[in-house]
């Protein structure tokens, strides 16, 4: 396992609130090889964004706290890493793309200045060279008139264009991994496809690994090689993309896939779009056994008694359900 680019084991991140500790991430395993695209899917509140931000320690601590686990980055554990070390890793080794392009850029600096700031943080180059690098990055992400637009402010760009700027910024120091946290959620549907295409293109040209956080199964199908499904702060299933869509093992994954609107079927078969009944359990005091049991049609007494372990039932396929073999 030492050869992996990123290897997270048993990660627990809890948040202190007035009502008690929220178990936002509660024992997550996740690993990623160089050049690979891994997608993490789940509803809002499943802990996927917290997991992603914890890798770069971008969550607020306090109230957040890493309770347990390790985050091995090229073999080095980042959990005990000092702030100076984290700063070296941020952007230079791991780039981050945020969900909200409209608010993720600072309105008072030009986009060029903001990209150049990143570059100059990690490389000893002149201001002028950094601005040239910024223009170069903008043209790489297909922003027209890049050499002129580096001097524009964020409010002069549309949402999709701003997300391109964010991508350019994340890529500006040639990181080995890009973490994209719901990069298309805030955008129009037509723009979403363009941004995903751009991410795929960048990956092909630059060869970095991508960790794509999303709640949309459609996005997963288009970009990822491997998928991790999270529910209530835990991983419930892990599989290669085709296998997951072919034969989902966990009842929650099955529900997720059934809830994708399918144009081809809708017209002919009158199939109803299925929503998963019920809501995510409170993470203040999560249930003892399987966290999905309350919403699961297959749940039996044993499900509620003890948490189901994440078992590897075929090569590359893991699932946290004791009845997986029966129901899949």
């Amino acid at each position: 396992m030492a050869g992996r680019l990123l290897n997270i084991q048993g990660l627990k991140v809890h948040f202190k609130t007035d009502d008690g500790w929220v178990h936002a991430v509660d024992g997550v395993d996740l690993s990623l090889d160089a050049g690979e695209t891994l997608s993490v899917v789940g509803e809002s509140g499943s802990g996927k964004t917290v997991t992603a931000k914890t890798i770069l320690k971008l969550i607020d601590m306090p109230p957040g706290r890493i309770m347990d686990g390790s985050i091995l980055w090229q073999g080095e554990d980042l959990v005990p890493a000092r702030p100076e070390r984290m700063r070296d890793i941020r952007s230079k080794e791991i780039g981050f793309i945020f969900q909200e392009p409209m608010t993720s850029l600072n309105p008072v600096y030009t986009v060029g200045e903001q990209i150049a700031e990143t570059v100059r943080q990690h490389q000893r180059i002149s201001r002028k060279a950094a601005m040239e690098r910024a223009a170069e990055m903008l043209s790489l992400v297909h922003i027209p008139n890049a050499s002129r637009r580096v001097h524009d402010y964020p409010h002069q760009f549309s949402g999709g264009m701003r997300q391109r700027v964010m991508i350019a910024m994340a890529l500006s120091c040639d990181p080995k991994l890009i973490i994209a946290d719901e990069p298309t959620t805030a955008l129009d549907v037509t723009i979403q496809a363009q941004i995903l295409d751009l991410l795929n293109e960048m990956k092909e040209r630059l060869g970095m690994a991508v960790l794509l956080i999303t709640h949309a199964m459609g996005v997963v199908a288009e970009t990822a090689q491997r998928v991790i499904v999270m529910y209530a702060g835990q991983v419930v299933e892990e599989a290669p993309v085709e296998a997951l869509f072919d034969r989902p093992l966990h009842p929650y994954t099955q529900g997720l896939i059934r809830s994708i609107p399918r144009l081809d079927l809708a017209a002919t078969e009158h199939r109803r779009l299925e929503a998963i009944p019920g809501t995510v359990p409170s993470l203040l005091s999560p249930p003892q056994g399987c966290r999905f049991a309350a919403r699961c049609g297959y749940a039996i007494e044993a499900c509620r008694a003890a948490p189901p372990p994440l078992r590897e039932i075929a090569p590359g396929r893991k699932v946290a359900c004791i009845r997986a073999e029966e129901i899949a």
Binding site: N106, E117, Y153
Partner: protein, 319 residues
């Protein structure tokens, strides 16, 4: 930017006119004759008085009187002080530099307190430092300047006997000694005003920084690997200054109010103490002119704040 400036200027002119209308209305509605002084002076014969009234246009209809008054105000023809017989504009020009100096210095003091304290408190919300700073800020702007002024005199002049409590214009010293004496007598008025404003601004800065610190672009800056100090300065404080400028501009009337009180306590010969002595002496032309000058200065500072605002926020010039 130029366009934005012109627009702000065009907005400032109606404000100034509005203020002049309010001032004139107050004067016009005032019962009695503002020139009673002349009326009761037996040395002036009635026909001279009537001529004077006619020449001042006191018997014309109200709107004509307003325009006549406004043009003479704008042309700097502010008349003569009833008391000292000196042209009012000379009197004000004599006094204005002192007031501007005291206000300017005290605003620097306020800034020097509010910026570091507000930012430090906001970056550690609900820490001991934050709670103490917040409580002191509340106490600071709940202490009226006239009371802090007296407390300062009581402590520094009477108890410790360190500082003089009467401002003198006739210091008999030269060179460095003159500056030293000047500093000694200015320090209390400046601190009284500065501490009061500093307390109010600390709260503005703190809440503005708190608002900015949770914005997404700050997380972006951290994700870029920028050190926390630089994140705070470049991406938090820089942005938080935008709302602070507006709030500070709104404080300008209060700043001048505080200056009047402070000048009166320490007998600083500025336009504030000029106003009070003019009121106590029923010196109408001086009262009107000083009020108008202070109003114009407030409008001017608001305009200045608009310029700074436009300079701080690149979005503004495109709106």
């Amino acid at each position: 930017m130029a366009q934005y400036l012109v627009r702000r200027l065009l907005i400032a002119i109606p404000s100034l006119l509005g203020i002049s209308v309010i001032l004139f209305t107050v004067l016009a509605l005032a019962p009695g004759d503002p020139f009673e002084e002349l009326a009761t002076n037996p040395a002036i014969p009635p026909e001279v008085r009537a001529n004077l009234r006619a020449s001042l246009g006191l018997d014309d209809p109200v709107h004509i009187r307003y325009f006549a008054w406004l043009t003479s105000m704008l042309r700097g023809e502010w008349g003569f002080s009833f008391v000292s017989r000196i042209p009012v504009d000379d009197l004000i020009l004599q006094r204005l530099p002192v007031t501007i100096a005291v206000i300017g210095a005290s605003q620097l003091v306020a800034l020097a307190i509010a910026l570091p304290v507000g930012v430090y408190a906001a970056t550690r919300p609900y820490s001991i430092f934050d709670q103490i700073a917040n409580t002191l800020a509340f106490v600071g702007f709940s202490l009226p300047t006239f009371f802090t002024g007296l407390l300062f005199i009581l402590f520094f002049s009477i108890y410790l006997d360190w500082l003089p409590f009467v401002f003198r214009t006739d210091i008999e010293a030269t060179g460095w000694n003159w500056w030293w004496q000047q500093l000694r007598q200015s320090i209390m008025p400046i601190m009284v005003l500065g501490l009061f404003q500093g307390a109010a601004w600390t709260r503005f800065v703190r809440s503005a920084v708190l608002d900015v610190i949770r914005l997404d672009h700050v997380t972006t800056a951290r994700a870029k690997g920028i050190p926390e100090r630089a994140v705070t300065l470049r991406h938090v404080v820089r942005n938080a200054m935008i709302p602070v400028v507006t709030l500070v501009a709104l404080q300008m009337p209060a700043v001048f109010g505080g200056a009047i009180v402070t000048e009166q306590i320490f007998r600083v010969p500025g336009i504030g103490s000029l106003l009070i002595s003019a009121i106590l002496a029923n010196d109408t032309p001086v009262i009107m002119a000083v009020t108008f000058v202070i109003a114009a200065l407030v409008v001017f500072f608001n305009l200045l704040a608009d310029v700074i605002y436009g300079w701080l926020d690149p979005r503004i010039s495109y709106r």
